[in-house]
């Protein structure tokens, strides 16, 4: 049983036809992890006993033919609370933290009968673009073990790409689902802000964070988003409107649709021209399929990175104040006073990148800099959002590269925080605007996968999935499988 050979619907069919059992799937997942995770490093912790127990119960109860996700294994990013299963956010600060409740998305996955296999590596507190900021381990890209899987949801991406699980959840504050999806040849989605409850997601930038699925196919992704979406009284920022079926109309094609090409996202002098080349070929295909390609402008895009790093870091500096060494989390041994508990626990418990962001955020919010930094960034955010509102009056979706390059070498950017921040240049405006975006594999450059992002209007994920599906159906990128080997 190799998850790389099947869609979720096909796995479901096998369960219904009794060709396999839920126990078989869970065992196949752990077997694959045992065989491959020493070299990949995707998982921080496994949930073996409970997963097998749940699988046995599922088999005894029988698979509900109308519930596609029941009995299927899933991996969870380690910043999403799982009751009684250690949840660390890949930080020394939470190394032994055991949640006493499930995140809403976990409750919802349990309702549809999905089985949590384990917790996945990430950049500490979701801050980073390579998963190298994990306090515990390195995760490697299944397409080339010398390269990063992207981040911050690098473990979630690598686990699906390596066939350890058929699907995983990540979180995306500035590109943390889409960038690793692009780097590992997967479909990754950042839903509209508010679509998925953030209750039980360890907070980073609360006005930006969204949980989203990693899958191999577009339709699989829509099926999982169906399961985790919806209003939640425990997250007052969750959307109160209807949750449609995201697979509805997915096969309607692109004939007659207007696809916007934001010129600011196509830097033709980019270091790696294979990326834009692959996306341009995809645009040609869309044109052949009957879509109209329209060049548009998002003139404030260049302010995305500075605005994002101020806003996300400011929110993080506030959110991470809760880690005070008192109620939970790491407490320094080396304390003589209450002040020591705070300062020493935080200084020893947080890694370097987390400290940098807390410092930048605290600085941006401090009196004297608030107007020039935080307020200015919030105003830039309005202008960026207005850019999107304006172009969406003319086009149905925007199509652009997800990243400027394919996956980079491990160690390539880790000593240069600014270079690492710049990797998010094409993904952060989406979070600032709150619109949904999907990254879909669209080809290869230097033998590494290239991702193309499809951005749609607020709460119009159906359109995003439809446009992605039309592309996937006409192409064959899925037939190529990762090597699980190092470079040459």
């Amino acid at each position: 049983m190799n998850f790389l050979d099947y869609t979720l619907e096909e796995l479901h069919e096998k369960l219904v036809n009794k060709e396999v059992t839920a126990v078989d799937l869970v065992e196949a997942s752990y077997k694959r992890i045992e065989e491959t995770d020493e070299s990949i490093g995707a998982f921080l912790g496994l949930n073996k006993e409970e997963a097998l127990k749940t699988a046995r119960e599922t088999d005894e109860r029988g698979i509900d033919p109308s519930n596609i996700l029941s009995g299927l294994p899933i991996g969870i990013k380690d910043n999403i609370m799982t009751k009684d299963v250690t949840t660390t956010a890949a930080s020394k600060m939470l190394e032994d933290f055991v949640p006493v409740y499930d995140a809403t998305v976990i409750e919802k996955l349990k309702e549809v009968g999905m089985i949590t296999i384990g917790k996945l590596n990430m950049d500490e507190f979701a801050m980073g673009g390579s998963t190298e900021n994990s306090a515990f381990k390195l995760t490697r890209n299944p397409w080339d073990l010398n390269k990063v899987p992207g981040g911050s949801s690098g473990g979630s991406a690598a686990a699906v790409a390596a066939g350890q699980v058929p699907v995983s959840l990540g979180s995306d504050t500035g590109g943390s689902v889409r960038e690793p999806a692009a780097f590992t040849g997967l479909v990754g989605v950042k839903p509209t802000y508010g679509r998925v409850s953030r209750y039980g997601l360890i907070a980073f930038g609360s006005s930006l964070d969204q949980i989203g699925p990693f899958t191999r196919t577009v339709k699989d992704n829509a099926l999982v988003l169906n399961a985790i979406s919806g209003h939640d009284s425990r997250d007052s920022t969750s959307y109160q409107g209807e949750t449609p079926d995201f697979t509805e109309g997915i096969d309607n094609g692109v004939k007659g649709l207007r696809i916007g090409v934001p010129k600011e996202y196509y830097n033709e002098d980019a270091k790696e021209d294979g990326v834009i080349k692959a996306v341009r070929e995809a645009l040609d295909l869309y044109e052949k399929l009957g879509a109209e390609i329209v060049e548009v402008s998002l003139p404030h895009s260049k302010y995305g990175i500075p605005a994002y790093y101020i806003i996300a870091s400011s929110e993080a500096s506030s959110n991470l104040q809760r880690f005070d060494g008192i109620r939970y989390g790491y407490r320094s041994e080396n304390v003589e006073s209450l002040e020591d508990i705070y300062v020493k626990s935080r200084s020893e418990g947080f890694g370097l990148e987390v400290k940098r962001r807390i410092m930048l955020g605290t600085f941006s919010l401090s009196s004297g800099f608030y107007d020039a930094h935080f307020k200015k960034a919030a105003q830039a955010r309005t202008l960026i959002r207005n850019d999107f509102d304006k172009v969406f009056k003319e086009v149905d979706v925007l199509v652009a590269p997800t990243t400027t390059t394919t996956a980079f070498e491990i160690g390539g950017k880790i000593d240069d925080p600014l270079a690492m921040y710049m990797s998010d240049i094409l993904t952060v405006p989406v979070n600032l605007a709150g619109v949904p975006s999907l990254s879909v594999p669209c080809g290869f450059s230097n033998d590494m996968p290239v991702g193309m992002q499809i951005i749609s209007k607020h709460f119009d994920e159906q359109m995003m999935y439809r446009v992605a599906y039309a592309f996937e159906k006409e192409t064959d990128h899925l037939s190529r499988k990762p090597s699980l080997k190092g470079g040459e």
């Binding site: 260049k302 003589e336 002040e339 930048l360 605290t362 921040y421």
Partner: protein, 101 residues
């Protein structure tokens, strides 16, 4: 330089972090280059533009004011390092220098 080592020390104090003396120079250089980058925003005309502070615009959310059972107290103590008589135990606050805050 947008900031110097003194500013970094001051911000660290506000953030309840301690930067080791050996690292302060490197840290200052890094934060300074990040601040340089974010200050590109100075070039943007934001006269009369309202700031956006939320993910989506929304109105206040109300719920019924009815009592519900919260999380079990013992469960909440599961992640506490030291406890005494039903409280979280911490070092004495006043005898040993105390908080500067």
């Amino acid at each position: 330089m947008a900031i110097n080592e003194e500013t970094v020390k001051q911000v660290a104090k506000l953030a309840k972090l301690e930067i080791e003396e050996n690292d302060i120079h490197k840290f200052t250089t890094e934060i300074d280059s990040i601040i340089d980058m974010v200050e590109q925003l100075e070039g943007l005309d934001t006269e009369g533009v309202e700031g956006t502070y939320h993910g989506i615009s929304h109105h206040n959310v109300w719920r019924e004011d009815k009592a519900e059972k919260g999380t079990d107290k013992e469960a909440l103590f599961k992640n506490v390092k030291t406890r005494k008589n039903g409280y979280i135990e911490v070092p004495a606050m006043f005898d040993n220098g105390g908080s500067e805050a």
